[in-house]
Amino acid sequence: MIEVKNLSKNFGHQKALDSISFVAHAGVVTGFLGPNGAGKTTTMKVLLGLISSDSGTAYIDGRPFGKSPNPSRTASGLLDSKAALGSRKAKDHLLAVAEANNIAKDRITYVLELVGLKNDAKRQIRTFSLGMYQRLGIAEALLGDPHNLILDEPMNGLDPEGIKWIRDLLRQLAKAGKTIFLSSHILSEVQQTVDDLVIISKGRVVKTGKLSEINQGFSSLEEAFISLTDDNSNIEYKAG
């Protein structure tokens, strides 16, 4: 379970997060939606202990991720799938992660097979296509079989078939009791994947709730999203 309470973060004068609060429950897929620059990546980085917050708390399974006694079982994430050393072989990239948490080696084979990269394990990562990067990032996130998965725009760069694949995978993981928290700036992309929604705009939570409840009062979900994140100008959203 992911609990964020009154979380704020400034980058210099730039307000990235302005006291945001929400909960993402175990056993469901929670969509984290907002236009570009809304603060989704920042929230996820704070959750994973990669950047510090100015105030508020961001807990995974009841404590900050950095204090987790068994990090690889607690949570993992995919923030930027391109963030891997290109000259390294895919298998070695995963092996480094596995060793750090004493994860059995056959998990590597398992996750590579799961994401469809079994035959590319010995290739240098830099030779991968964007979709393969994304799959490798997901393999890495699944390596430790974590209870919480934090995925930043995981469908970016995937073809329709890939999107369907990830959708089924995430639904299946949620069904197995995991907390799935994924961000997107395109509602239609995650509409069929998520149960709950947390919508943010300009660093503030504008709406949380069940997918089915959110579009009440709007003619469509897409319109609800645009209207909720519209701050007298939805140019930002359209540009994204």
């Binding site: 510090s52 990090p71 690889s72 963030a83 390294r88 750090a100 430790g144």
Partner: protein, 304 residues
């Protein structure tokens, strides 16, 4: 504790899965070989000019130094690798994946330190052994004499096990700098400034300033004595730098800047301040501790 070993294993996987590790290792070995080759060529071509009556006695004199002197040059290879191991995490972005796998940054920091140190040290030992093996055929029969340099006594073993420490300590020193700056270029430049440019400048300042202003000369002199480039030489047991004792039981500087024999300031220059072997070791440890604390704190507080 177990957890720390796992993180070390992870860092080792990273080290062995990049080509640059192998390139740097080969460069280090070549440095050892080149230094040894230089001595061998000198021995065979011009024993007269180095004050030895024959080649055999030249090699007997050179002794085990021949095998271990490469450390001072090979260190550049391990410095480059130590810097790259950290800076590529930032340039490629893989630091994210490292810190998600191990959110405890102190552990990541120390695991990398341990791996870089062990790698550099073991590389130094292996290079020494391979240099010895390559030297043997040349020295098995010199003027009818077997002059193969077997380690003989404590001093030789100190060189064999000690000189690679120099590589290890300079490597982690530069790794700490890389942690602070994240880039490749700044730490590399810092290394060259600290270990090559600054000591020569201070050496020049010491000898020239002495003739103009004793205070300035003394300051330059003391700065040089405490500069990392000089104190780290405490670990080079075959080097003519910090480990050469003079009659006053003091450890000298470098030898070259004292060679201004004809100047009136000669008398002052001969009283050049220097650290003893033990104090140089202590100062080195202080340098490492200072940089380590700084780097660790920056690393822990940094946004990614």
């Amino acid at each position: 504790m177990n957890k720390f070993l796992y993180v070390c294993k992870s860092e080792f996987v990273k080290l062995r899965s990049i080509k640059v590790t192998y390139a740097c290792s080969i460069i280090a070995l070549l440095c050892y070989w080149l230094i040894a080759a230089g001595v061998i060529i000198l021995g065979f071509t011009s024993p007269g000019t180095v004050g030895k009556s024959n080649t055999a006695s030249f090699f007997v004199d050179a002794g085990f130094n021949l095998v271990v002197s490469g450390a001072g040059t090979a260190v550049i290879a391990v410095v480059i690798l130590a810097i790259l191991l950290m800076s590529t995490e930032y340039s490629s972005g893989s630091i994210t994946s490292t810190l998600i796998a191990t959110p405890n940054r102190t552990m990541v920091f120390w695991a990398k330190t341990v791996i870089i140190f062990i790698y550099s040290y073991v590389l130094g030992i292996i290079c020494s052994i391979l240099t010895w093996l390559v030297c043997v055929p040349f020295m098995i029969n010199v003027d009818g004499q077997n002059v193969i340099p077997y380690p003989n006594g404590l001093a030789d073993w100190a060189m064999f096990f000690g000189n690679p420490l120099y590589m290890g300590f300079v490597a982690i020193f530069c790794y700490f700098i890389a942690v602070i700056f994240k880039t490749k270029a700044i730490p590399l430049v810092t290394y060259f400034v600290l270990f090559f440019i600054l000591p020569s400048l201070l050496a020049v300042a010491t000898s020239t300033a002495y003739q103009i202003n004793q205070i300035v000369g003394k300051v330059a002199n003391v700065c040089l004595a405490f500069a990392p480039s000089e104190t780290f030489k405490a670990f080079i047991f075959s080097n003519e730098g910090a480990f050469v004792t003079n009659s006053n039981d003091n450890l000298l500087f470098t030898t070259k800047q004292i060679s201004v024999d004809d100047l009136p300031a000669n008398k002052l220059l001969s009283q050049v301040f220097s650290l003893t072997h033990i104090s140089a070791t202590v100062v080195t440890i202080l340098w490492l501790a200072l940089l380590c604390i700084l780097a660790l704190n920056i690393f822990k507080k940094r946004n990614i």
